[in-house]
């Protein structure tokens, strides 16, 4: 199967540190590919390698099965802080990059409208972080790229800014743009991502689709009583097949959830006050933190 973007045993070494270690990612056309990992996992380095901002130590990158420099003309990006000329307006920033990318300057207003920056006449240095991020995305949109690579695009944005950004990404994706996005805000990312890649210490732990992820997020039981230690002891004594442990201010049941009703009866019978007994589904964030060993 040929992918839209893929890497083959990609390695990037910085003196003694291997930031990217034999990574093989596979991105299909139309995907919103979420790249997930802790700080220092190698996400930004991997994205910079895809964009040609860093040279790989070894391995290969395949971009649309085309020559790399030509392929990169079809990729827009927003890496770390957006690169903007701060003493000029959003329009002038767009004009400069439209000239550079050989795009039609008549499209500038259409793009600025998409990111809600049309008629914004202040110099960019007076913009809020959210506005700068949106202008960075607008620059990435010049010349109708087929792929957009975003590195932590919603970091520091307020809830409204995050919602706006998410809406723009979803709209563009429906128009056929493929995205590769890295983010720490996992639950937020989960709202839009169609495929995931988990990076840890420079290695790609696994790749899966959002549908596969839903089957991986396991159910668990959560019990809160007036004496959790006693509750845990009673559960272990009376239900040997149930796997239970103290977790923060509650007792967590990871196996034997069908016994929750009987456990409730037991606790009440022993004069414990059960303030909460719920069957929960693991959140995306909880799954990833578990997978990353946190």
């Amino acid at each position: 199967m040929s992918y839209f973007i893929e890497t083959n045993d990609l390695v990037k070494q910085f003196s003694t540190k291997t930031a990217v270690n034999n990574v093989n990612i596979h991105v299909n056309k139309g995907d919103i590919y979420g790249l997930i990992g802790r700080n220092g996992a190698g996400k930004t380095t991997l994205l910079k390698l895809l964009l040609g901002l860093l040279e790989p130590t070894s391995g290969d990158i395949d971009l649309f099965a085309t020559e790399k420099l030509a392929a990169r003309k079809r990729i827009g990006s927003l890496i770390e802080e957006p690169g903007l000329y701060k003493n000029v307006t959003a329009y002038e920033n767009m004009k400069r990059f439209s000239i550079l990318y050989g795009a039609d300057v008549n499209d500038i207003n259409t793009i600025l409208e998409k990111v809600s920056l049309l008629n914004e006449d202040r110099p960019v240095r007076e913009f809020s972080l959210g506005m700068k991020q949106r202008l960075g995305l607008a620059i990435a949109l010049i010349n109708k790229p087929e792929v957009i690579i975003l590195d932590e695009p919603i970091n520091g944005l307020d809830p409204a800014g995050i919602r706006d950004f998410r809406n723009i990404i979803q709209k563009l994706n429906k128009e056929g743009v493929t995205f590769i996005i890295s983010s720490h805000l996992l639950d937020e990312l989960a709202k839009i991502v169609t495929s995931y890649g988990i990076l840890s210490d420079g290695r790609l732990l696994e790749e899966f689709t959002s549908t596969e992820l839903r089957t991986r997020c396991t159910d668990y039981g959560k019990i809160i009583t007036n004496d959790n230690a006693l509750a845990l002891a009673l559960i272990k004594q009376n239900f040997p097949d149930v796997k239970a442990k103290q977790s923060g201010k509650h007792v967590e049941i990871s196996e034997g959830l069908e016994s929750l009703g009987d456990i409730n009866k037991l606790l009440v019978k022993n004069n414990l006050t059960v303030t909460e007994l719920t069957k929960c589904t693991q959140s995306v964030e909880e799954y990833f933190l578990g997978r990353l060993g946190k």
Partner: protein
């Protein structure tokens, strides 16, 4: 390459520092000429001590020194080139498939063009000032040679500033290096000349600063003019190769 050049020129003509630096050069030029004339007129004895320009063409040749031209040109080049690195916009260029070599040479061409525009603007100002102060004088063919050699020197010095900017990328260190390194090298070469007792063939004369001093006066011999021009262009080529190679290898953005 065409898009890169269009992009860089578009930026250049919208960059305040271009007009500010050109204005400062013009102001320095005018003030230096007026100052020398005032000193000579108010203190007649000084005319024997100061190498005063006495014709419009002498003033024209003094453009290079009167306006502290190379110093301000170096600062301008540093501001112009480092802007893309400090604002992070260089990522928007490289990530869209523009090769480092093309980016390097597009920036170099535009930076040199900007400095030459500043030079010609200052030349015109100097000539106008000279005509006001001294009227017309006989023009010697030697002046043309000196002007061409000055152009070569400006290219050499500006390429030095450009390459330093492309390697170090941060405006503060770049300006410091651009100003201090040529001075320090000139100083060491002068010490070397003194230590070896060199008189006819001095090492300092073959460094940018020594050549700038020689090319500002009509007394310079034709052979020295030619050697200075060739030397400047060789320096420009060396600095360009060092800058290009280092920039190609560096990944700090």
């Amino acid at each position: 390459m065409k898009n890169l050049l269009k992009f860089e020129f578009h930026k250049l003509f919208r960059q305040k520092s271009f007009y500010v630096c050109a204005g400062i050069m013009a102001a320095f030029s005018i003030l230096s000429i007026i100052l020398i004339e005032l000193v000579v007129k108010t203190t007649p004895d000084m005319s024997n001590l100061i190498d005063t320009p006495r014709s419009v063409w002498d003033i024209m040749l003094g453009t290079l020194n009167n306006a502290n031209f190379v110093l301000i040109a170096g600062i301008f080049v540093a501001i112009f080139v480092c802007d893309d690195f400090s604002s992070g916009t260089i990522k928007n260029i490289y990530s869209r498939g523009f090769s480092k070599t093309k980016v390097f040479f597009a920036k170099l061409i535009v930076a040199l063009t900007a400095v030459l525009i500043m030079y010609f603007a200052n030349l015109i100002i100097s000539i106008i000032m000279g005509l006001i102060l001294f009227g017309t004088h006989l023009f010697h063919a030697k002046y043309i040679g000196l002007l061409f050699a000055q152009l070569a020197l400006i290219i050499g010095y500006s390429t030095f500033a450009f390459s330093v900017s492309m390697i170090f990328k941060k405006i503060g260190p770049v300006i410091a290096i651009t100003i201090l390194v040529p001075m320090v090298i000139g100083l060491f070469l002068s010490l070397f000349d003194v230590a070896l007792g060199l008189e006819s063939l001095k090492a300092a004369d073959f460094w940018l600063e020594g050549m700038a001093a020689r090319l500002s006066t009509v007394a310079t011999l034709p052979l020295q003019i030619i050697l200075s021009a060739i030397g400047s262009l060789i320096y420009a080529a060396i600095f360009a190769v060092i800058g290009w190679y280092s920039n190609k290898k560096l990944e700090n953005y």
